[in-house]
């Protein structure tokens, strides 16, 4: 009987059925960061429980870390307290912590793959909804709450109901100037922000087969924005090539054994799916959001929706609310909308290939007057590599601030925030009201190259025109 990767990984990690019908699922790899873990350690102490498998939890610091003033103690004493807490907890419970001093610190979803901790056929959990990123390697990766962080620390398992699986096939070649980010923004627009509720998304088709690991991560990362808690791509030679030689990857004979095992987890031909969606890659254009959730997207050449064109009463209410917040004109082109801030970075688009692509086109160009542009590498390793390749120089010369690694303005828990109703062209993943640190701040999500185009023109722009991409 052919099976999907989801089913195989789920079955291999099933410990037993619980009284309420949920599964006690073994979580092989647990990633933690400073924001959603301290309370979990507090709960462990209250219960007098140890960490069951401390060697299977890995920690870093990303959400609150400043990206320009790195000397401790931080000016923000609350941020410093969180930093101290994660250090203390890792030391006390014997957990590996990728602190800044290790040179391996970064956004948790960038660190895991970079270190080779993220592997095919495994289960991964982290107290962060973008944990779905790790599915790019053919892992089943769940974003969880803090009580579940406690559960995983104490038992290396959690209670979960099984998800359905939707296969999303994207076939064909993306048009020039169209990126993985556009693919996922397009999918969320098509399937809705809650279209994936109850599902794991299996991304497949020739577009994904040709994608690099970093492109696959960008798509899997935003599965949750479409309501899907889990998103994955079947492991293949691209996956294995990425993992070979990484610090936590198997070596020698163990490598060959591991690869054989990883291959066996890939979905079988003819595996059953609860739903199948097919998309032609050629229909996807550079996509930007105009509203207050990631499903409110349009291609750069479309007009901003107007309440009159709404498809339902709900849709109409949604458009009215979004346009009022975004202060955007109904029915007018999104292209040309003035921006105040350009943000390059995040667990969606803060990887080496993102900065390489931007640098390729940004050479010799300048950020428009009045635009604050910041580039935040996703990890210290990404930063270092960019610096070796001179990418940071290109960005600085253009007028971007080159910062240290962290989540930064994706959710603005550190000092990088929008002010007032500033509009930010952002390579991040969420355009919710107030997401980027100001209760009236406005976010337009887009690919990194589109952020670069917005930065140099000072407006939401078509990168294909601005940089003559063809």
């Amino acid at each position: 009987m052919p099976q999907s990767l989801f089913q195989k990984v789920w079955d291999a990690h099933t410990v037993r059925q619980l009284a309420n019908g949920q599964t006690q699922l073994l979580i092989g790899t647990h990633l933690i960061h400073e924001v959603t873990s301290p309370q979990a350690f507090g709960m462990l102490r209250d219960l007098g429980l140890p960490v069951l498998m401390p060697h299977r939890t890995f920690a870093t610091v990303d959400h609150i870390i400043p990206t320009n003033e790195l000397v401790e103690p931080y000016k923000d004493s609350l941020a410093q307290a969180m930093m101290d807490e994660v250090r203390k907890n890792c030391a006390e419970f014997g957990i590996t912590f990728f602190d800044r001093a290790t040179g391996k610190q970064g956004i948790v979803h960038i660190v895991g793959p970079e270190q080779g901790i993220t592997q095919p056929g495994t289960t991964i959990a982290c107290g962060d909804s973008h944990t779905s990123t790790h599915g790019a390697f053919g892992a089943i990766a769940f974003g969880i709450g803090t009580s579940q962080v406690r559960d995983v620390l104490a038992t290396q398992t959690m209670a979960l109901g099984r998800l359905k699986v939707r296969r999303i096939e994207v076939n064909g070649k993306l048009r020039p100037g169209v990126y993985a980010k556009d693919v996922i923004l397009h999918l969320i627009r098509q399937l809705g922000v809650n279209g994936g509720t109850g599902y794991a998304y299996e991304y497949a088709g020739s577009t994904f087969e040709h994608f690099s690991m970093e492109e696959r991560m960008t798509v899997c990362n935003m599965s949750i924005e479409g309501g899907a808690r889990v998103g994955y791509v079947n492991p293949d030679e691209t996956t294995f090539a990425y993992l070979k030689g990484r610090p936590y990857s198997p070596t020698g004979a163990a490598w060959d054994t591991a690869v054989a095992g990883w291959k066996s987890f890939a979905s079988d031909p003819g595996a059953p799916y609860d739903d199948v969606v097919k998309i032609d890659a050629a229909t996807i254009a550079p996509t930007v959001t105009w509203g207050i959730n990631p499903g409110q997207g349009i291609s750069i050449v479309e007009n901003i929706p107007s309440p009159e064109t709404a498809t339902s009463a709900d849709d109409k209410a949604g458009i009215i609310e979004a346009l009022a917040y975004m202060k955007l004109p109904a029915g007018k082109p999104i292209k040309g909308t003035k921006i105040d801030v350009a943000f390059l970075g995040s667990c969606t688009n803060g990887r080496l290939s993102d900065f390489r692509e931007v640098a390729k086109y940004l050479k010799g160009r300048k950020v428009a007057a009045g635009v604050k542009a910041i580039a935040v590498p996703g990890s210290q390793i990404v930063a270092l590599q960019c610096e070796k390749e001179g990418i940071d120089r290109v960005l600085r010369d253009a007028g971007f601030e080159w910062r240290a690694a962290g989540c930064s303005m994706c959710l603005a828990m550190n000092p990088d925030k929008l002010i007032g109703d500033q509009l930010c062209a952002s390579s991040s993943n969420r355009n919710f009201k107030g997401r980027q640190g100001s209760p009236t701040g406005r976010t337009v999500l887009m690919s990194p190259l589109m952020v670069a185009a917005a930065a140099v023109t000072g407006t939401v722009a078509d990168a294909r025109e601005v940089f003559a991409v063809n």
Partner: protein, 201 residues
């Protein structure tokens, strides 16, 4: 540890109308700079309850005196979408809410809430509108959420509720926090881990 069997919730309700109310809106990220969940209740819906420019209270229903003391939150579709932050249901619970009735929930929020013993039930749009109309007319009206019969009663009306069976079972049988059961399974956990090459070593 013995957990309460949550078979029903009775209280006054407040409608927070709208779809796709995300967890950033429920509790803005800046209030997550904390190492405990204490005190989160006061920041519930902070940025939509206070005008960011004037600092004055907005017309948000949680600011309305007539809804003070409500323990049941009414809302729309895809409630709790976005970030996995447990700070969101923690803030809702610490503010004083005991249950939520909405059209649908985001996956992670639903699980986080259930684990805290905060029942999230769903009802059809028109039924939520019926309850909303009743409490708009009489904010003192008592709403009863019956998890055993899966129905809500308010002002002489009865509407149907739904809830994922695993969550309903856990709530009514007092096993909504799975930690005890998960701990009991540790010998089996070790057995399962031994069979997986990446964990066996």
């Amino acid at each position: 540890m013995a957990l309460a069997k949550i078979t029903s919730v009775t209280g006054r309700a407040v409608p927070v109308v709208g779809n796709d109310i995300d967890t950033d809106r429920i509790i803005p990220a800046r209030f997550m700079k904390c190492v405990t969940f204490d005190g989160l209740g006061e920041f519930l819906f902070y940025d939509v309850r206070q005008d960011p420019t004037t600092g004055r209270d907005t017309a948000h229903p949680l600011n309305e005196a007539r809804f003070k003391g409500a323990t049941i939150l009414l809302s729309g579709a895809n409630f709790g979408c976005g970030s996995s932050r447990e700070h969101a249901p923690q803030a809702i619970q610490k503010y004083g809410f005991k249950a939520i009735i909405a059209e649908s929930y985001a996956e992670i929020f639903f699980g986080n809430s259930t684990t805290l013993g905060l029942p999230c039930v769903t009802a059809a749009r028109e039924d939520i509108e019926k309850i909303t109309a009743a409490v708009e007319q009489d904010p003192q009206a008592e709403v009863v959420i019956d998890l055993v019969k899966l129905e809500a009663r308010c002002a002489g009306q009865t509407v149907k509720l739904a809830q994922r069976e695993s969550a309903r079972d856990a709530l009514i049988n007092g096993r909504w926090d799975a930690i005890g059961e998960l701990l009991d399974g540790i010998p089996a956990v070790k057995e399962t881990a031994r069979k997986l090459p990446y964990l066996a070593a």
